[in-house]
């Protein structure tokens, strides 16, 4: 095992981890405010990938469209889902919202099956982006570079927005204490809507990245990455954006490392490994790496 091989795995892990991070940000924002595990989040990524695939095949348009349009459309979709499915459940028990999000997830998957087809389809990027570059023996594509840059840029923008803007302040306040935020006159529904819009937009971007990384899309592709991204958010400490990013990167690197450094017969257990990692983190540090403690009260 050479240093090159290790670096190579690290690059691959970072690429996967950045996508997890993008998804985990949306999940962590929503969970922070509503205590809702949005199982439908991964399916928004799937929809984003499908929208993106339309613009990929239309060669006249610049590739930028394949990133921007799904991002915007999924932002809208996130808002629609929130308003129709989750908003009527304000104040309902957590489990009711959890079950609803499972229902929404199913609804999105099977609507895609109905409208398009259950068959997977290819997602082929134009040549330049997938060309392999070789720097000091480590291979990566322009896509990997694009992924890093995109994720970092989005993260900086989002952090600025949440820390500086009025809506961001409302979101932080709602996340800290929903009832108190409402009492002091914050429009909580606006803040929740904003969390969904921002999170879903990132899921749309992630759809493009995921599809171009794996080259194939199908209606059920989103569920497992969505759940894994939640795992990432929990590892980083749920409710914290920095934690979501760190958790995503850690999970991505760990997952690729698990496949890359262990004998090949273990690679079938990579999903099992992810959940074992979650279990260990939850038992050792129940609030994740960056989380605040939450005490059960009467």
């Amino acid at each position: 095992m050479t240093i090159n091989y290790i670096m190579q795995q690290l690059v691959n892990g970072l690429a996967l981890g950045s996508i997890y991070a993008l998804l985990a940000i949306g999940l962590t924002m929503v969970y922070g405010i509503l205590r809702l595990i949005n199982f439908a989040h991964g399916d928004l990524m799937m929809l984003g990938a499908y929208v993106s695939s339309i613009f990929i095949s239309a060669t006249i348009l610049p590739i930028l469209f394949a990133v921007v349009i799904p991002t915007l459309l999924m932002a809208l979709m996130g808002l629609i889902v929130e308003r129709t499915a989750y908003r009527p459940l304000r104040g309902a028990p957590e489990v009711a919202m959890l079950i609803t999000s499972l229902g929404v997830s199913r609804l999105l998957q099977n609507s895609t099956v109905l409208v398009l087809s259950p068959q997977p389809r290819a997602f082929r990027l134009p040549g330049d982006l997938t060309q392999t570059m070789n720097v000091g023996g480590i291979r990566f594509t322009q896509l990997d570079v694009l992924t890093f840059l995109l994720v970092i840029a989005l993260m900086v923008l989002l952090t600025l927005y949440i820390n500086r803007s009025k809506t961001g302040m409302a979101m932080r306040a709602s996340s800290e204490n929903l009832r108190a935020a409402r009492l002091i006159g914050i429009n909580v529904n606006w803040a929740i809507g904003a969390a969904f819009v921002l999170g879903s937009a990132l899921a749309g971007t992630a759809g493009f990245l995921w599809a171009s990384r794996y080259g194939i899309i199908d209606p059920f592709m989103g569920f497992l990455p969505g759940v894994k991204a939640f795992v990432a958010a929990v590892i980083g400490g749920i409710g914290s954006i920095r934690g979501a990013v760190a958790g995503g990167v850690i999970l991505g690197v760990a997952e690729i490392g698990f496949v890359g450094f262990l004998p090949p017969e273990f690679s079938g257990y990579r999903d099992a490994f992810v959940f074992s990692l979650l279990l260990i983190v939850l038992l050792v540090r129940p609030n994740g790496l960056f989380g605040k403690s939450e005490v059960e009260r009467a």
């Binding site: 489990v95 229902g103 929990v234 999903d271 074992s276 059960e296």
Partner: protein, 344 residues
Amino acid sequence: MKSFLTRKNVVLLGGIVLLVVLLGVADATLNNYYLRILQLMGIYIVLTASLNLTNGFTGDFSLGHAAFMAIGGYVSALLTMPLAARALQLADLPAWFQEFAMPFPLATVLGGLLAALVALPVGLVVLRLRGHYLAVMTLGLLIVVKSLASNWEPVTRGARGLSGLDSATTLWWAFGWAVVTVFVVWRLVHSPFGRSMIAVRDDSVAAASRGIYVFQIRLIAFIMSAFFGGVGGALLAHQLTAITPPTYSFDLTFLIVIMLVIGGSGSVTGSVIGAIIMTIVPVILRDLERRFELPGVSQIIIAAALIAFMIFRRQGLMGSREMHPSTWFMKKPATPVSVDAPQQ
């Protein structure tokens, strides 16, 4: 000593006799297609009633029921597989394993017991978590069990699965187990133990301060639920006569959860009603789906119905009420045992 012939027991006996008669008629008259649907119904009653122990009564929302089903299914399949199929499929296993085929009823129980045995260490660890984390972790358990089933080639044959099982799950076995499950769950829920479960669900801190061993209660409920989950998995394996990893998928867990939610988690009779409805409705919908060539529509309708239920009737059809046939014909209904349950 109280007379055995109380109103309750008479109604219970009458109900069982009626069920036996109905099943006998169904067994004699219906064709295979409908019989299979009825068998499935019995299996789903086992699964839903047992999932109710954790998700409904103890308030531990588990998404891992299919994991225990898979354990029960694989264990029973390995035990009952006929010798001919055994030599073909399990050649890698030790010789003594090639030379016996256990009777189906015993294998079902053993499948359930092994699922319960697995639930013990898993529960010890996982039940430290509550709420969402528990839901995600039990979902993780399902994924772990599935990767094991897909990758442990010598025993589970990976993606090819185990096939050639006897078609042993008759209507009688399916409904026999359904009756046993419902009976056990009913007695458990209406016992001091059951009261503790409900207390843990409603307010675990208050329950602990009243001297209830919260963790112990949750663990026992989890294990009991896993046992019947394993039994249900064994029944399903022997209905399909083959078992592959995708059988015990997240879809299956999700279906059982829907049954429970629609019937009313927190009600034993509600879970039975939910199982019955959600066995029949998908069959009808799938039929329509095929006729009009609209793939996915049945799932869309079910998912939409689930969301509508969550918005408009969160407690499910029955809420936490029970159907008491023994009180139906009384002039003055006896006050049903009711426990203040939160609006679920």
